[in-house]
Subunit: 514 residues, 2 copies
């Protein structure tokens, strides 16, 4: 067994059984090791697709995927989506091919400071020193990535560590379950706040927006009158009819302030207090009213389900029925496409148990509320703010959940960043419906231009915001990578296209002509 084989065997033994890969010469032994039938390899034509897909996998599975990237520049191409994954607390194991140790001193062309590139976006970085130690290193990488919250682990794999004899893999014992209970005193403090009856918003983040934690939060809300909210962006929310509804704190500073101004208390669960996404010349960074008190109920590494159980005990409210979202049957809309009719079409079309990946920015930003009463689904957002996350994340989510359809809503500007995702979706015949909101513009920037106090964009500034010369032909783009497509320009056609897309296995692209 050589080092690469030892590495792949250790990854799968440790539960990492998929690798999103874009290999190069230095990773040929790793490629040979991928013949291991327990590891699934998925080829991506650009590294940002690989890292985003690993993020999508983690969002749906709660276990890390691996990526295989080609030296420093290959890692660099994947960093933006690693940033997004890091901000979403997704675990990921990145394997970065590297020159052999003996070759590095000659500074060949592909040499770069891989550790330096990895560190800003990774929690854990290590260089495999030898083939014999590689199993140990790989196990530690998986353990780091598998912690709660999930972490980015980056393992640098020199050629000689890959091809030399490794012997039998030696690995450390698996760590204990990493989630700890919240402090009892903190829980009792929050119980006192809630008993006060003063207006309180409980903001749920990361894994608190799903499963037992979410259900128990619904009981707390029902028992105390506290309202439940989420940040504008959350890693994954179980949402729709029958789920505990969360109110979304608006994106823009003024509406967010208006939403928050009546709360005397904010209780945070696996998240922090609301902060503006960007800074503006005359707007604050913190969004709460002055005087609002912030109480941290659950820290990022703690167990929200347990915390809410403790809180319900402290409140004596364990038997309360949770607040649940009723089903809202939305009639199929017709006529012009606008944010409201688009949201209505979505609400009417989303099938039960689908996955929605949202990077619609301008188009979907303020109207997603209309889908609260749709059939139950998972909603995935971008927490890192680097565009080009949705199509790769949808790719990984579809691989993680082959029986569920993924609806990937993406603006045309964002879609162009990592459009190579379509090819992997076609190759793997993934159930992804990519919805391109084609407004031929980085439309959000037009609003932000004036939000920033930069006035009205002149001709040259506008030419950096509009992407309408030429207009991208999205149907041709889909065809180029083997994805069937349809273009729609009415709400009813949009609805029909979504329903139709789910009837047949495999990817589909809907160009929504705005």
């Amino acid at each position: 067994m050589n080092g690469a084989e030892s590495l792949v065997a250790t990854l799968v033994d440790r539960g990492v059984d998929i690798c999103f890969a874009n290999p190069g010469t230095s990773e040929m032994h790793f490629l040979a090791a991928l013949e291991n039938p327990r590891m699934r390899s998925v080829l991506c034509l650009f590294e940002g697709v690989a890292t985003g897909a690993a993020d999508g996998w983690y969002r749906m599975r709660d276990t890390p995927a691996s990526t295989l990237l080609h030296l420093g520049p290959g890692l660099a191409n994947g960093l933006a989506n690693i940033h997004n994954a890091k901000r979403a607390s997704s675990g990921m194991v990145n394997i970065i091919g590297e020159h052999s140790t003996s070759h590095l001193k000659y500074d060949p062309p592909l040499t770069s400071d891989i550790e330096g590139l990895a560190r800003p976006m990774s929690h854990w970085v290590r260089r495999a020193d030898s083939a014999g130690a590689i199993a140990w290193d790989a196990a530690k990488a998986v353990d780091a990535a598998s912690a709660h919250p999930g972490r980015i682990a980056t393992l640098i794999l020199p050629g000689d560590a890959s091809w030399r004899e490794a012997g039998a893999p030696a690995v450390p014992p698996r760590p204990q379950s990493p989630r700890s209970a919240p402090d009892v005193a903190r829980v009792e403090h929050v119980a006192r706040v809630l008993r006060s009856g003063e207006p309180t918003l409980i903001i749920l983040g990361n894994k608190a927006t799903r499963g037992a934690a979410l259900l128990r939060a619904g009981k707390v809300a029902a028992a105390t009158g506290a309202r439940l909210g989420s940040q504008f962006f959350t890693a994954r929310i179980e949402r729709g009819a029958g789920r505990v509804p969360l109110e979304r704190i608006p994106y823009a500073v003024a509406p967010a302030q208006a939403f928050l101004k009546d709360f005397k208390h904010i209780v945070t669960v696996e998240t922090g207090e609301p902060v503006a996404f960007f800074s503006y010349p005359d707007k604050p960074s913190l969004l709460k009213r002055e005087g609002t008190l912030v109480h941290r109920l659950v820290e990022a590494d703690e167990d929200s389900a347990l915390a809410f159980e403790m809180l319900l005990d402290a409140l004596g409210a364990g038997a309360t029925a949770p607040l649940l979202q009723p089903r809202v049957a939305t009639p199929v809309p017709s006529g012009a496409l606008d944010p409201v009719s688009i949201a209505h079409a979505l609400a009417a079309a989303l099938p039960e148990d689908c996955i929605v990946v949202d990077e619609s920015l301008t188009t979907g930003r303020e109207t997603m509320g209309y889908t609260m009463g749709a059939a139950p689904h998972d909603l995935i957002n971008n927490l890192g703010g680097s565009i080009g996350y949705a199509t790769p994340v949808a790719t990984g989510a579809a691989l993680a959940c082959p029986d569920r359809r993924v609806f990937c809503m993406v603006g045309d500007g964002s879609a162009m960043y990592t459009i190579q995702s379509l090819w992997t979706q076609a190759r793997e015949n993934l159930n992804v419906t990519t919805i391109i909101f084609a407004n031929h513009s980085y439309a959000i920037l037009k609003a932000e231009y004036s939000n920033m106090g930069a006035g009205t964009p002149g001709e040259r500034a506008l030419s950096m915001i509009d992407i309408d010369r030429p207009r991208i032909d999205w149907r041709a783009m889909a065809k180029s990578m083997g994805v069937r497509s349809v273009a729609v320009d009415t709400a009813e056609a949009f609805h029909a296209a979504m329903v139709e897309s789910a009837r047949e296995a495999g990817p589909c692209l809907i160009e929504v002509r705005l």
Copy 2:
């Protein structure tokens, strides 16, 4: 004048008058400042296009372009082509938007360690501390980028430094001409080596492969019998009929060793001794024969033209006629497409004074020699080894030289990395002929798999190398971004398509079906 206006004014005053941009919210004031009519802004739909285009601009102009990138992830997306530019000694000024200083402490979503990301690929990194100091910082950035060899300068621009009042720009004086003369003793030493008559290879790199330096090198070769070579990859070579011909050191280790084995001496000019691109289990890193002596004539920061003048003086050979490449009229080939017929078609089709950007990897790798006697042209290679360099570099080169046609030869695997370049080419109506060698494979990896001693790829390994499921429809891809296209499957059709592409202004894509 605010900080952003001061920055843009300083850039253009200092000679940087083009900006390849992909802006976001935090760069709105910079966008407003781009209304300055002295600065040309070019929108790119992905940051790797922006940084690669800046590289292409420098290769043809020898002066830096600027880029505008959106915080850490935007920089990250551009890093691979910054790496390639750095390895090619291209100068570049990257402006990286950043949150305001007051906002950073809240760790909003797009926050990352921008300095940490920039440093591995930059020679010079600075954060603008204030609007008032920004002109000084910008001038220093331009000076750093404009040094010889060219350098990567990265200036981080916090929002508040951008929008606050800056006052009149204060800048340092321009530095003196940065190229120094080589050491006289070194020149005399090399003259002695050449006079010995022992077999000598002079390897020219960076700016020594053009203009007066190249011509004088041709005189040295004519006078002494030394041979002139280049590394396999060079930033830019003035090449073809009437130019001093350079022998290309082969890429693969064994042919490179065979080429070098008879030389007793290697003289280096703005480059180092030949090193293998990758490390292989049983192959050396250094390619020269044991016992070959290496003499550095011109260090990277020195003036090659002056060095060769000094050397000609020392040899008393200033009046020698240089070795020049005769015109080789290549008949238009016909029949099947293979590396030889492709090279013949190129040789027959390349118009005088065109620019060839080569990222053809497998297809063009060993047969470019057939174009040595073509009409005079410039040849640009990738020195950094990160694929996805050619289509952006061609974009920048076409902007730098609007009167010259650029032929961009690129493998299908490489082209998919930064295919968004086509859109900018259409938008700016650039004279770029993109030639896609569609072999539906990372074909070079098949050879490298066995070179690495990994044996014959199995089914799973092959599925990470072949990109034939689905086959990319290149004509649809071109159409999606507004670029006219043609597909060819014979040598004569390939030749005709190249000639035809140059008849009309604007971009064109030729799919070469292999």
